[in-house]
């Protein structure tokens, strides 16, 4: 009885040490480029780029399989940062340059179901069960993932007004596109 317990315990201990050692000794460093790209992406995990999350998209970019302009939540900021990092030419964001929008919850209609809370990848929705929810505007990335699950359709995307605090110079790439359309 005791030998059995001891033998198994020792076996398990030895294997545990072996695996622990192996995980340190044979640690594989992931591609540093992927990590850098991943750090630039907004981590909304919204899947609008066509990849199942930000990290797979980062891997695809690093391999050169995906373009750098597929991330709508990141917008031009991300495209410019990626272009800078990878030495590629910046392009307008896929699907046209969207104005920045944030989600807005109509608090009269909200039933407090918490479904949008679970959908939000950046925890920008505040609320609890059976209490109305509200959006923390400064956190919202405009990924639209909360619109779909709402059972009472009380979430709408509203454009952010351009104010002196939020206004930026238009990027050259984004500005080039409308001109081309005119010409």
């Amino acid at each position: 009885m005791l030998t059995a317990i001891l033998a198994l315990a020792l076996l398990a201990l030895a294997f545990g040490l072996l695996l622990g050692y192996a995980s340190v000794r044979f640690k594989v460093d992931s591609d540093p480029i992927v990590d850098k790209v991943d750090a630039i992406l907004p981590q909304t995990q919204c899947g609008q780029c066509g990849f199942p999350g930000c990290h797979p998209y980062a891997e695809a970019i690093a391999k050169g399989e995906a373009d750098i302009n597929l991330c709508p939540p990141g917008g031009e900021t991300v495209v410019m940062a990626l272009a800078d990092l990878l030495g590629r030419d910046p392009k307008p964001v896929e699907g046209g340059v969207k104005e920045k929008r944030v989600a807005y919850i109509d608090e009269q209609i909200c039933i407090g179901c918490t479904l949008c809370l679970q959908a939000c990848p950046v925890d920008a929705i505040l609320g609890a069960a059976k209490h109305m929810h509200t959006i923390i505007v400064s956190e919202c990335t405009g990924c639209e993932l909360c619109v779909e699950p709402c059972p009472v359709d009380c979430i709408s995307m509203v454009p952010v007004k351009v104010e002196p605090a939020t206004w930026t110079w238009p990027y050259p790439a984004a500005a080039a596109k409308p001109e081309a359309n005119h010409g």
Binding site: A4, A7, F15, L19, A22, F26
Partner: protein, 193 residues
């Protein structure tokens, strides 16, 4: 030498683990949709089965038998197999990225499979020697891969053929597996004893 050849033929064809012993059915049904994944799975299984049957033999011979605790075989084997596979996965990941890409996701998948444990237990039951255990494990894996690849090829054909609506999907796959199993039963008698 003939002994080993016999073991090989008997495990690959006559006592095929999937179709005659009905072990390892979940990867058989699960990973057989595409020929390439089936090939990858077959390779990974060959690797794991050979390795694990050898390790299980060593554990049984040098740890369990001397201490008289053979009744702990199942749990000890599970432990050994899981660790060995995890360890080799790490080593392969570090040393050979190409091989890792081929085997990668399939290695942990096959670890906890019943065929792997089954081979180890059957080995000790039949009181195989070290080399016999290795050949037995290898043969079982080759048999598994052969059947998996054949089945995957058939399923690829079936998906484009005109199957009656009620039989579509898993139903026709199971029927195909059954027919294959009956065909493999025909090999019994090929090897005596």
């Amino acid at each position: 030498m003939t002994e080993y050849a016999l073991i090989l033929v008997s495990t690959v064809l006559v006592n095929n683990f999937v179709l005659v012993k009905f072990l390892g059915l979940c990867p058989f049904m699960g990973v057989s949709r595409k020929l390439e994944t089936a090939l990858g799975m077959g390779l990974a299984t060959t690797f794991v089965l050979t390795l694990s049957s050898v390790c299980a033999y060593l554990t049984n011979e040098f740890l369990l038998a001397p201490l008289g605790i053979e009744y702990l075989r199942t749990i000890a084997f599970i432990l050994v197999i899981a660790v060995v596979v995890q360890f080799t996965e790490m080593v392969v990941h570090k040393t050979s990225p190409v091989l890792y890409q081929v085997l990668g996701i399939f290695l942990p998948l096959i670890t906890t499979n019943c065929a792997v444990l089954g081979v180890a237990l059957l080995n000790t039951q039949a009181q195989h020697s070290f080399l016999e255990s290795a050949v037995y494990g290898f043969g079982a894996a080759v048999g598994f891969s052969l059947v998996l690849v054949l089945f995957a090829a058939m399923r690829e054909r079936i998906t484009v053929s005109d199957v009656p609506a009620v039989f579509r999907g898993p139903a026709i796959a199971l029927i195909t597996a059954g027919l294959m199993s009956m065909a493999f039963m025909g090999f019994s008698g090929l090897v005596k004893g």
